[in-house]
Subunit: 224 residues, 2 copies
């Protein structure tokens, strides 16, 4: 799996769930399909009067989720930005051409209430619960996303390109406090922990369920 | 459309998108299908080690979105609560029996890392963009949801039952400042504004796009 394939899959899925936070800090979620995909960016349409638009203008943080027919989950985290004034019409016309149903929803000049947002820098997580062991991977679009979290040196891939941000790691890791007892391995539903001192979680197969974390007798398992 | 049918539709859709806010106040979204439906409540399973679980325990606010094959969007807003200790096993076993794939993900005793949350009080929005005019309606499960928003008297249905909260209204309304010019009606993509003084938006067909709001020459259109 790779970034380009993930974006293609999102495009084929078509109708995606967009999560934002509202003015009260509460989660909001909508289905959006008025989307155009470029190799390095995603453009989407909404109307200026919608609360969704206000949330994007005032906060901007968005997570986008697609679920494929192959039971893959593809999740994109980003900050949406309003597209430059002089490019609004170009992308709006393109999205309306690609999604003819939009002309039924916004006939004639009423589409002028529309606004185009774009996503250029994002983190994309691929997650497949239907294989054994489960599989996950994370990719960076553009410069990735800002994060307050600092990742431990040992979980950094170490191959971050200049100008790119790190992948925000999630899940668990086993620290040097490990005594090699193997209890974590026995408690892992996905059998994704390898022996050694310290034992090692294979992050691409980890559910992030916390079983190893709860069972470790010496608290050697840390949350990332 | 009604509450009971909406819950049935969510059940048939199966895989729903759950939005929460994380510890940084950012939106988070996941697909969840480990769900059991009762007439008056929804129970769902996750693992104690997941960030999703932590977000539910620390904040609890959740929006759940389902998209049907008939292109209906059903959105539930609520506050998830951890199910009572003595009922955890009962619902967990039921969810695992109803969703056999879960036993592949959490074999044997590893399911003990699970935790059951429940939703009893919610607001449910039904939205269909594929009909003309578009159609939307809102229902209350249990006591509904808390809201900081006060709705104008004229948009209240006036039929709130004792012990229930109001539906949180969204969109726009036309106030008595209306001069009856009809510009709003001409600008409405869904032709859902009726003549009169004041003109009236039929809320069940309103996109919430904001066209009437932006075009009214006397600012008689207000956001709810």
């Amino acid at each position: 799996m790779d970034l380009e394939t993930c974006l293609k899959k999102l495009k084929y899925i078509g109708v995606l769930a967009f999560a934002t936070v509202d003015l009260e800090g509460a989660p909001q979620i909508r289905n959006i399909s008025a989307i155009h995909y470029e190799k390095d960016a995603i453009y989407f349409f909404t109307a200026r009067g919608k609360e969704f638009c206000r949330e994007l203008l005032e906060d901007g943080r968005v997570q986008i989720l697609g679920y494929s027919k192959y039971k893959e989950m593809i999740r994109l985290s980003s900050r949406a930005k309003q597209t430059a004034e002089e490019e609004q019409k170009k992308w709006m016309d393109l999205i309306f051409a690609e999604q003819p149903y939009l002309t039924n929803v916004y006939p004639g000049k009423t589409r002028d209430i529309g606004i185009i947002f774009e996503i250029r820098d994002a983190q994309i997580e691929y997650f497949h619960l239907g294989v054994s062991p489960i599989f996950r991977e994370t990719y960076i679009l553009g410069r990735g996303i800002e994060t307050k979290q600092e990742n431990a040196a040992e979980v950094e891939a170490g191959d971050v390109e200049p100008g790119k941000r790190r992948v925000r790691m999630k899940g668990y890791r086993i620290t040097d406090a490990c005594i090699g007892c193997g209890i974590c391995q026995g408690s892992c539903p996905q059998k994704c922990i390898e022996p050694g001192v310290p034992y090692r979680i294979r992050p691409e197969h980890c559910l992030h369920c916390g079983n190893c974390y709860e069972h470790c007798p010496v608290s050697a398992v840390k949350r990332l």
